[in-house]
């Protein structure tokens, strides 16, 4: 019995050794294949080699990234530039896979979190966070020095892309990681402010509440107040690093107003207007300033501000509604209804309405 048992163990051991050898060979092949794919990869495109990497399992991908990091560690200081170049190009390829080849309906790795798809304040379904963002970040952790300009460029670009794609759950993981490396970078601080300002919006608050009340899971969205407080801090820090960022100043003024700090908000918004804000940014600043003046009891100034916003975008509905409400609160029903008549005369088609308020929570 004992002999039989040991044979079995031996047999198992040899099978395992065989598998290990085979695995080692496969891993080496994958590492080589990965390097070929990185070299062939053209930013913003998905070539054959990149597609092949995208098809690997989560385990294979994670193992390969570990192998890459071990490999470049062996390069030594004299080949640091070569190592950095490989890591940066690798991160770029994984970011492109995440952006361009969605593999988010099935989980590739236990590390991938399930996230909610939201539309009009309602949960529409779930998907998984793409593993490739994490792979990209992991590769860049091996770049030396960690604050290499290429790393900063990658984090700025990918954070901006995530916000533009409204991949907010990914951005909520991505941006803190970026800020740990670049704590005072104005672009990353600004994007962090936009993310938390968006989390404070009615749409996201409604969605978070629906998710929580349905016991569907946890969300990364806190109360509007908490999110506004976070956004205010990020915008303030972004402005400290880059005082001439007009959009950051407009948004800073907006969150100050939402936090009830109307006098400070009005100062920030006036500074943005006087500083040369134009187009949509000027419209937002005027609209927000009107609200602050209203809250401060300066009705005439509020009206002037709303009217200027309306003149910038004559087919926008928000200044008309603001003027209507301002008149109604002053007890002038006729004037309030006149604004409604103007609203009724606007095109019904939203494409012709052109109200930049609707785009405010999307990063520009």
């Amino acid at each position: 019995m004992g002999a039989v048992r040991s044979e079995t163990i031996c047999l198992l051991a040899s099978l395992l050794l065989g598998a290990s050898h085979a695995y080692g060979q496969q891993a080496t092949d994958r590492l080589a294949q990965w390097q070929v794919a990185v070299k062939a990869h053209q930013p913003g495109k998905t070539g054959k080699a990149t597609l092949a990497v995208a098809d690997w399992s989560g385990f294979e991908l994670e193992e390969t990234v570990l192998d890459v990091k071990n490999m470049v560690r062996s390069y030594g200081k004299d080949r640091q530039d070569e190592a950095n170049d490989l890591l940066l190009r690798g991160a770029e390829m994984h970011a492109d896979i995440a952006r361009l080849i969605p593999h988010d309906l099935t989980r590739q790795s236990p590390r991938q979190q399930r996230i909610f798809i939201i539309s009009d304040g309602r949960e529409q379904g779930t998907r998984f966070v793409s593993l490739h963002w994490d792979l990209g970040r992991s590769l860049l952790d091996a770049v030396s020095p960690p604050t290499h300009p290429g790393v900063l460029h990658w984090y700025r670009q990918t954070s901006s892309d995530l916000m533009a794609m409204l991949s907010l759950a990914e951005a909520a993981v991505h941006l803190p990681r970026a800020r740990r490396i670049f704590p005072s970078d104005p672009v990353l601080l600004y994007l962090s402010g936009v993310l938390h300002e968006r989390f404070s919006s009615a749409s996201l608050q409604a969605a978070a509440e629906a998710v929580m009340s349905g016991n569907s899971g946890m969300t990364s969205v806190d109360s509007a107040r908490v999110e506004q407080t976070r956004a205010e801090r990020f915008f303030r820090e972004a402005l400290a690093a880059r005082p001439d960022d007009l959009e950051a100043r407009v948004r800073y003024g907006h969150v100050l107003g939402e936090l009830g700090r109307h006098a400070q908000a009005a100062i920030a918004l006036r500074a943005a207007i006087d500083g040369g804000a134009n187009g949509k940014m000027l419209y937002w600043a005027l609209l927000f300033l009107g609200k602050q003046e209203e809250m401060l009891g300066n009705r005439d100034l509020a009206r002037t501000s709303y009217e200027r916003a309306a003149s910038l975008f004559p087919r926008a509905q928000s200044p008309r509604l603001a003027l209507s409400q301002l008149a109604r609160r002053a007890g002038d029903r006729r004037a309030a209804q006149r604004e409604l008549t103007v609203l009724a005369g606007l095109p019904a088609d939203e494409r012709e309405r052109e109200d930049p308020w609707w785009e405010y929570y999307d990063v520009q």
Partner: protein
């Protein structure tokens, strides 16, 4: 009967024309109108006289000039959610419900229509041409987000009129996700006017803005499980609204500006009274 009825309606309109100095337009409050639903075991109670009512304005009893029932024409504004989630069958149900409600309006009544997604479209001001409202309703399509608060403001303003009693019937299947105006500011507008808001929502969500608005105006919120029930809900609301009293009084012994707490009761009987909890006077 129709011939006899017309002079009564006209007289009521004329009478209201003189009475309907809205509380909020002058520093001195000339007259206050309060729309009141009186029920017993859930059924509206008719035939009450002004002397049956007791109104306290900021705790001070008031002398009621008029308590009118059923005779005053209605201004009915439909504010209908046309966001992306209202498509196909739901849109069909909504259009049918709108047509059903329009079919229940009588001579002298007027109707208006506000459709909204994130785009607020005050499609038709109050009109007695119900065919034009039907046509606008039939042309409505669903898309976009939900500017429920903005649409409420537009709907209430559309409903504010010198004559008649005004109902804003708001339908939405969701929460506000795109308004410029704030809930607080629109609730304040509601407290300044005399439009009664009845909300209809598809169930499931936490009671929110529409419930607050309904309660602030003396209306109520009806929650339905499916848009299949919409026509019945719209009809029930119109029927109930028609069975409300409009009482009017000239305030005496109360301060003018600011919030006025209202209490409306029916003397000596255990009846249920629904009315706005107060009104806001002055700017």
């Amino acid at each position: 009967m129709g011939i006899l009825r017309r002079p009564v309606v006209v007289a009521a309109v004329l009478l209201l024309g003189t009475l309907s100095v809205h509380a909020q337009f002058t520093s001195r409050i000339d007259a206050v109108r309060v729309d009141v639903l009186v029920t017993e075991n859930g059924r509206p109670v008719p035939s009450l006289r002004p002397s049956d009512f007791e109104v306290l304005d900021n705790g001070v009893p008031q002398k009621i000039d008029l308590a009118s029932f059923e005779k005053i024409p209605l201004n009915v504004v439909l504010a209908l959610d046309m966001s992306a989630s209202i498509q196909g069958l739901r849109l069909g149900h909504l259009q049918t419900a709108g047509r059903t409600l329009l079919g229940g309006l009588k001579e002298g009544d007027r109707a208006g229509l506000v459709t909204f997604s994130h785009v607020v479209s005050p499609d038709l001001s109050l009109t007695d041409n119900f065919d034009s409202v039907r046509a606008a309703l039939d042309n409505a399509k669903g898309s976009g987000m939900t500017a429920l608060i903005d649409a409420s403001h537009a709907g209430m303003l559309m409903g504010e009129a010198d004559a008649g009693r005004s109902l804003l019937l708001m339908f939405s299947d969701g929460v506000d996700t795109g308004s410029w105006l704030t809930a607080e500011s629109v609730l304040e507008t509601a407290r300044r006017g005399d439009v009664v808001v009845y909300g209809v929502e598809i169930g499931g969500g936490r009671p929110g803005f529409t419930r607050q608005l309904s309660e602030a105006t003396g209306g109520r919120l009806i929650t339905i499980e499916s848009t299949k029930d919409l026509s019945a809900s719209f009809s029930a609301i119109l029927e109930e609204f028609r069975m409300r009293y409009l009482i009017s009084y000239s305030p005496e012994g109360v301060g003018t500006p600011g919030w006025h707490r209202l209490e409306v009761r029916v003397r000596g009987r255990g009846l249920t009274v629904r009315a706005r909890p107060g009104y806001f006077a002055g700017s």
